[in-house]
Symmetry: C2
Subunit: 239 residues, 2 copies
């Protein structure tokens, strides 16, 4: 059994200008790994319709799932829903169940459910809503594309809403050995070990702490017995 | 005068598995913005030669500059230099000046300049070296592609080495107004203001602090007079 694949598409000028550091990709990566879905690539594009459509169409054709983050709020720069509709050639308009959710929310809050806020009920035809327990305005799934909010707390809540509905593969296991040697000293033996286990992925991550070089050696795979076997060899070499 | 454009390509399984949060893109975004270069897109790909080559060729054809991060160390999973050479169809081998730099470094450190460490002198033909003041192993520029280390301290030092050599455009200015209202309340007037200034980029970033909704309204552009003019209108609306 193999693992389903996914891509992340972060949408927002604020990430590319350096105003905001994206943390959603890192969060999603960890959650997907735990769920047995392999994150294969991530992209960041501007609040630009053509750029969003092009990236979406490239990613949704190639991977089992695409998650997007950002651009589903009430302001003029929130163009993700329309761009997703355009990518799929789907009509888009105010959707009644989404409008009703939002109307009830603003009614409870005593806030005006104005035209800008009603824009957040614009959902492409054929989509399923994704629950937003924090601020109500829903995300949605259309085909294999899951459209989530950019605000990290809401992004995380929406990941929690959608992930249990997706079929995962076997868990992606990872083991780490930290050695007090530079990468250059462990490279030859570690590379030979990696060559002996072509079914596993092995990575080497150097660090400098208090002036001393060290390396984290990581072994990843889905077969627990193979990961253990490789880890035993690694510990014998450098433990 | 327009601004040169750039893309970032982050290379590394550890980012996609959720082990490591990429911080290099955010750092580069800020530095490029200050230097008057527009970061147009960013991608993360795995330590996979075909994925690196494909992303590199897409990005270098489209943007003025491409910066890569990661995969230039001594271990078997460090394949960036070879992938860049493949993308350009350039030969690659041990380069004498890079080898000499590394040999002197390991001689001073009393460490063995072994075959794995010599791999870090593999540089595609026609490239210019990028200085690494922290751990010596150089990055390189080939065509419009700047190949930098993934370790954040070294990435930053290499950005400082290469950026002064690149022609920037007019500085990308940004002004921020924080308002204690939700996005939905400011959306209509802010959208109308954005429509009046099509030469500027305006973005709206909601936050929740201590249970209260607020919004940061950001105006970006290169013409100081226009940014000031729009900011004055914004302050009159919501200040």
């Amino acid at each position: 059994m193999t693992n389903p694949t996914a891509a992340m598409l972060v949408i927002g000028d604020e990430i590319l200008s350096g105003r905001t550091q994206d943390s959603n990709t890192h969060y999603l990566a960890g959650e997907l790994t735990r769920h047995g879905i392999r994150l294969m690539e991530a992209r960041v594009v501007a609040d630009d319709r053509a750029a969003i459509v092009e990236a979406l169409n490239a990613l949704r054709a190639r991977w089992d799932h695409v998650f997007t983050s950002g651009g589903i709020g009430p302001t003029h720069d929130d163009i993700t829903a329309d761009a997703v509709a355009a990518a799929f050639g789907a009509p888009i308009g105010i959707r009644e169940d989404a409008r009703a959710l939002l109307a009830a929310h603003y009614d409870r809050s005593g806030l005006d459910f104005n035209a800008a806020r009603q824009r957040m009920a614009r959902i492409p035809e054929g989509a399923a809503l994704i629950e937003n327990p924090i601020s109500t305005a829903p995300g949605f799934t259309l085909g294999n594309v899951h459209v989530l909010a950019g605000v990290p707390d809401i992004f995380r809540a929406m990941v929690a809403s959608v992930l249990p509905q997706l079929t995962g593969g076997p868990p992606l296991l990872s083991q780490n050995l930290r050695v007090d040697r530079g990468e250059g000293e462990v490279a030859a033996a570690f590379g030979a070990l990696a060559a002996d286990f072509p079914d596993l992925s092995m990575g080497s991550y150097p660090f400098i702490r208090a002036g001393a070089h060290g390396t984290n050696l990581v072994i990843r795979g889905t077969d627990p017995a193979r990961v253990e076997q490789a880890m035993a060899r690694l510990v014998a070499l450098f433990g």
